[in-house]
Subunit: 273 residues, 2 copies
């Protein structure tokens, strides 16, 4: 049982190709037990079959070689299991997000005449805001919004400021699985409030903004992208944006999914043309 296997025999036993085995040798992931110095022939030991099969399986689920190396370097099987599980959870998360993107594309094609969005213009006054800025991936977006609004409201009411239902989120960067903002959650108020921890207090200048009201049903990804598209297109036709887009929530979340829940707003300046 201590005999050596040639690369071909080893390939048949493990389900790996010759090309793959040579590459894994090169990269150090799976080095033959012995290499004939004269001929360069690779000889594998039967004891290596197990590792090779694990590599084969991990490649079948498309784990990168570098991560396979890390994983198999973990001696503790419990830790290895957790690493693998974590990686796999990430794969499932990615798939879930992609499903949303596919849905959006299907939306565009299927009901081609998507109900149009009313884009309006309004002048927003200067306001004093309490804000929390964070980098967040799409998966954690809703939780982050809810949590930060709650923290801001708690701080403001504890400071005896006057707050309303109104709040908004400014997307300084794209929030997607590949990109994490930054995202600034804002609650406007009246009063005198100190900053604390990650809560900043700042003045937001007055501005003109184009906005589209959306319903609760339209507010979830990916349908919300249609509203962004509509506002962005409108602004491009009438002028140019002067800042990042935002979602403005002005009422409590309604029961009725067709009821108004928020505005997608984009500050802009009219074109000189």
């Amino acid at each position: 049982m201590t005999e050596h296997l040639t690369i071909g025999a080893f390939a048949r036993r493990t389900g790996l190709s010759l090309k793959a085995l040579r590459r894994y040798d090169e990269s150090g992931l799976l080095v033959p037990d012995a290499v004939d110095e004269r001929t360069g022939y690779r000889y594998y030991s039967p004891a290596q079959v197990n590792r090779a099969r694990q590599i084969s399986l991990l490649r079948r689920v498309e784990m990168p070689l570098a991560q396979i190396a890390d994983l198999l370097a973990t001696s503790d099987p419990v830790a290895a299991s957790e690493t693998l599980l974590g990686w796999w959870a990430e794969q499932e998360r990615l798939l879930t997000h992609r499903r949303g993107t596919v849905d959006y594309l299907l939306d565009q094609w299927r009901r081609a005449p998507e109900e149009p969005f009313q884009v309006e213009v309004r002048s927003a006054p200067e306001r004093t805001l309490a804000t929390i800025t964070s980098r967040v991936l799409q998966a954690d977006l809703v939780a982050t919004l809810v949590e930060n609004v709650h923290r801001l409201r708690e701080h403001l009411t504890a400071s005896e400021a006057v707050v309303t239902e109104e709040w908004w989120a400014i997307y300084h960067g794209v929030v997607s699985p590949d990109s994490d903002g930054p995202l600034e959650v804002c609650v406007p108020f009246e009063g005198l409030v100190p900053p604390v921890g990650r809560i900043a207090i700042r003045i937001e200048e007055g501005r003109t903004e184009a906005y589209a009201p959306i319903s609760a049903a339209q507010c979830s990804y990916p349908r919300i992208l249609h509203a962004y598209d509509a506002v962005t297109d409108w602004v491009r036709r009438h002028g140019e944006p002067t800042g990042p887009p935002r979602e403005v929530y002005r009422v409590p979340w309604p029961e009725d999914p067709t009821a108004y829940v928020a505005d997608i707003a984009l500050p802009y300046r009219e074109a000189p043309w």
Copy 2:
């Protein structure tokens, strides 16, 4: 609005990188509206933004460029939707199968001392078989088994042959998401039966086979791989395989998941050593 956009402006509007845009130009997937012959500058039209954004979204879900080209060449949005949906279903199917592979690996690490399989040897007599051979991917495996056994039994009983509960499936090739057999479903019988349609009648020689009995719980992917491993290892230690492995079902499917349901069998010859 009929102005041309430089590649940089177009990139910002569409979320595609300069590199990507140049590559899409090269490959014909997204050719600029105009190219200055003298300078080589690419100029895109605003009307191309839509196509570019679709490409961007499809790339985010990792659809290959060639398939994106096909998809966007489809003029009928209904047909395009169906193509996209079909492709997406395939992605989900792949993920489901990969989850099985991951589970198998976790199995190996977590309960390291997997209950060992009893590998026995038996001599199988020559039999007359009715068989259906088909190429099938892992996803359709169970349905194919059930359906083909049913068709074979129907034909045999209609021909007044004597059949028992026993049947088996011979895996002439690996059945996985990447590989589709061939798979031969066999029902042994006594009597005189003509072939019909895809049903073949053949003699199977007697042979010696190593086998491991498994329970219903062990029969589903990926746990069943452990049984295959056990038999294959045993055979390698005692001789060499003389044919493809099979799953032999000898009793009706039991209620109790821990009850015996099948054998994983591998014909083999004793080693000359």
